[in-house]
Symmetry: C2
Subunit: 271 residues, 2 copies
């Protein structure tokens, strides 16, 4: 391991820049903070450029194993001083690992969706923590892909990566402009279900047979009018209390699992 002791080291300065979304886009790189998250990225074939850690005598078994795996794979590992690590890591920490990795080019046409596959479409979901939480639930529910239908949502925000528990590297993800996503869904034979607070159909009263897309909008403003067409089924989750909405990651999970329930029931009944 090479040692870095200065926060002015050019490599460190470049890595710190990746906290900014524009820099991530320009450089095609992201920061991954956390042993579990780096491990999952590595297992999913994400190219890891460098890994940074502090000198330590008491690494966890998981951490030591991962460091060895990365070293064996030829990844550059740098041991840095505490002030340097604190520049890179989130929270005032000196334990754990931080990696610089390449952001994969995830385009719509690279997605392979099975004939009864479910995809989730997110439009203008703003909080990275919500994006990450949706990805965690999507992974758990076996969603075939998550598509971000706008270019402002930053999938590789470190908070999104962390909130996903690394699932962001396991679930196939694509990004494209809204109209392109809609065309793609139509072209590939998806039934499209858009979550509207005043949707005509209760979400349990529609059938998610075949390829289905669930479309979810912004936390405060919901979906744009793009998701209003006559071939789009507007669904709602019933609200029985004083609050008028669910958190977007909760909405996503309730819809994912209802779709999964129906698909399992159809499979059980031989449908």
């Amino acid at each position: 391991m090479t040692r870095i002791t200065s926060v002015h080291n050019p490599r460190i300065k470049q890595a710190v820049r990746l906290r900014d979304g524009r820099a991530r886009r320009r450089m095609g790189r992201m920061l991954i903070d956390g042993i579990r998250e780096i491990d999952r990225a590595n297992r999913s074939g994400i190219a890891i450029d460098q890994v940074y850690c502090c000198a330590s005598d008491d690494r966890s078994t998981d951490e030591s194993k991962l460091l060895q795996t990365l070293l064996d794979a030829g990844v550059s590992v740098f041991e840095v001083t505490e002030p340097v690590f604190q520049k890179l890591a989130f929270g005032q920490r000196t334990d754990g690992l931080v990696a610089v990795a390449r952001t994969p080019a995830w385009e719509l046409d690279r997605l392979k969706i099975p004939s009864a596959g479910l995809v989730a479409v997110l439009e203008n979901v703003e909080k990275p923590g919500n994006v990450g939480a949706v990805l965690r639930s999507a992974d758990a529910a076996g969603v075939a892909a998550v598509i971000v239908a706008d270019e402002s949502t930053d999938l590789f925000n470190p908070n999104a990566i962390r909130a996903s528990l690394g699932a962001i590297f396991a679930v196939p993800v694509a990004t494209a402009k809204g109209p392109e996503v809609l065309d793609w869904l139509r072209h590939h034979g998806f039934s499209i279900f858009a979550a509207w607070p005043n949707g005509e159909n209760e979400y349990t009263q529609v059938s998610y047979d075949g390829r289905a897309a669930l479309v979810l909008g912004n936390e405060a403003f919901g979906l744009s009018n793009l998701w209003q067409g006559s071939d789009i089924t507007r669904i709602r989750i019933p609200m029985r209390g004083i609050v008028d909405s669910l958190n977007v990651s909760v909405t996503a999970a309730v819809l994912f699992y209802e779709t999964l329930r129906q698909k399992s029931e159809n499979a059980r009944s031989g449908g």
Copy 2:
């Protein structure tokens, strides 16, 4: 309105103390931060002692209306300077309202549960944000009550209040020791369903007929052995990806809405 200009004012010092859980318990008071949250507490009959705001020429309509309602109801409203407000409010804000209110005495025996009512039981859920998020989903799904089966969870933590969007004041809530909660559920004829990662029953394959209780455990360690008895059905949500758990508020919502779906379906089929 009386004006307060010093952070050393005894009233302010006492209010600030309510950021601490022990002080809340000792004084039987809580801090409520936010217009919507105070409004919902007031509508739910929570006794509001005092309200604090900054001098301002551009209050929102909601804020002005609520202030007038509270003044009309005889609540003491204090106009405070910015440094004083920042001591009371969360985040470095000078807008909005902060209230001191009485924590209701919510005991198990005050709960009134309909014959097909659903209750949620939380054991050792640690993060106040998660407790609040569960309450938000419980309100949305029409859950009859949320019971906290331990004495460490602080329902009146300001972050729990905020994450609930004020639903904490709309959903009936009770707190008691675990064994007392279990006795109460048995005595009142509840079917008990405990969420275990390795539960024998998929959550969609059991019937939540009649009075049902869904029991959810700690974010990291799950439920204690109290929730293992022979009259307790252990349920699981299928995990199809690399992550091994859902967020507790997501788990809660998926289970609440499946119960609701079954109950609606039974009602529709005249069952």
